[in-house]
Point group: C2
């Protein structure tokens, strides 16, 4: 008599893995540790997942999707179209300062995927999704403002993503919120300067 359906076990293991990786890092998330975190016997792991790598792939996909959803929500929440950009950046940054471990896990998983033969496509997709989400948000913003961007949207999206990604990592290391927020403000204003006057 199963206490839990196999499908639910999978979910529980994924959740446990994410929790564990956020706390101790991807390297420490062994099959044993994950099963332990989910309070299941080790043997369970391998009839829910074919291998540790399969679980990690699932985690990468989940986390990337979550991040994209969070970004869209932050964006949709803004009323005043003029401050849409600024507000989204602030909401994103609040998330970073509140849950830096999750961001760190994202980096670790990307590197893991890049180093694992055959898993590079997953890392590529992870980044492609982020970039695409930002592109959509930028296009949406221009549309709502009834204007256009004066630089190619894919380039602007890459710019935004790079600043946020680099700034996040920098803050995770030195926790300098004051300077980080200044950079965020500065980059936000720069981005706004690429909005053409409404025709």
């Amino acid at each position: 008599m199963p206490r839990m359906a196999a499908k639910d076990r999978r979910e529980a293991l994924i959740a446990a893995a994410i929790r564990l990786m956020a706390r101790d890092g991807v390297a420490k998330a062994t099959t044993r540790a994950i099963a332990g975190e989910a309070q299941m016997p080790l043997g369970v792991f391998h009839y829910c997942f074919a291998s540790r790598e399969e679980l990690l792939q699932e985690v990468i996909t989940r986390l990337a999707a979550e991040s994209v959803v969070a970004a869209r929500q932050a964006f949709a929440g803004a009323e005043d179209p003029a401050s849409m950009i600024t507000k989204s950046l602030q909401v994103f940054w609040q998330g970073v300062e509140l849950h830096p471990e999750e961001q760190l896990v994202g980096y670790e998983l990307a590197h893991y995927a890049l180093r694992q033969p055959g898993m590079e496509p997953l890392a590529r997709r992870q980044y492609a999704e982020y970039l695409e989400a930002i592109e959509e948000l930028l296009s949406e913003a221009a549309k709502r403002l009834g204007t256009e961007w004066t630089a190619p949207v894919p380039v602007l999206a890459r710019y935004v993503h790079s600043v946020l990604d680099g700034l996040t990592m920098c803050w995770i290391v030195d926790r300098n919120s004051e300077h980080s927020r200044e950079v965020l403000r500065l980059a936000g204003e720069h981005l706004l300067s690429f909005i053409a006057e409404p025709s």
Copy 2:
């Protein structure tokens, strides 16, 4: 009769470790693999280093120092003070596209240090050195131009560092050189806009 002084062994092992990590990643750089790469018996490792961690600490310090030196050289090489910034960014980027593995190792080591209890200070120092180097370069640039920055130098340095760091990681994943160079150009121009008119 030693074929090599212990001090030289240390250097050889460090070099082998860096080579190996660039090729296969930090996780694959086990004591066995490093000794093998240096064509030494495993036993050698532990009378050159007290532990694997001690070697990694040494590697982190070396790589950070190298990066800073490279940045200064790129900067010093420019003649025309007006294009100093732009040129430095380009030189940096050439390095990234030529040796992306080294950059990736830098990220991996930073994350390793952050996750290893007691090693966070090393990661902090690594980032602090980068930031400080950029601050010095910015100050030097303003001095040569006979002008000032219209924003705090530490903030500008963090901005530059973040863009470069984030953009590098993004390029390592998707190898989109065209868009990356556009972002670099765009960020460079933005940076130049913070130069006050010479008094």
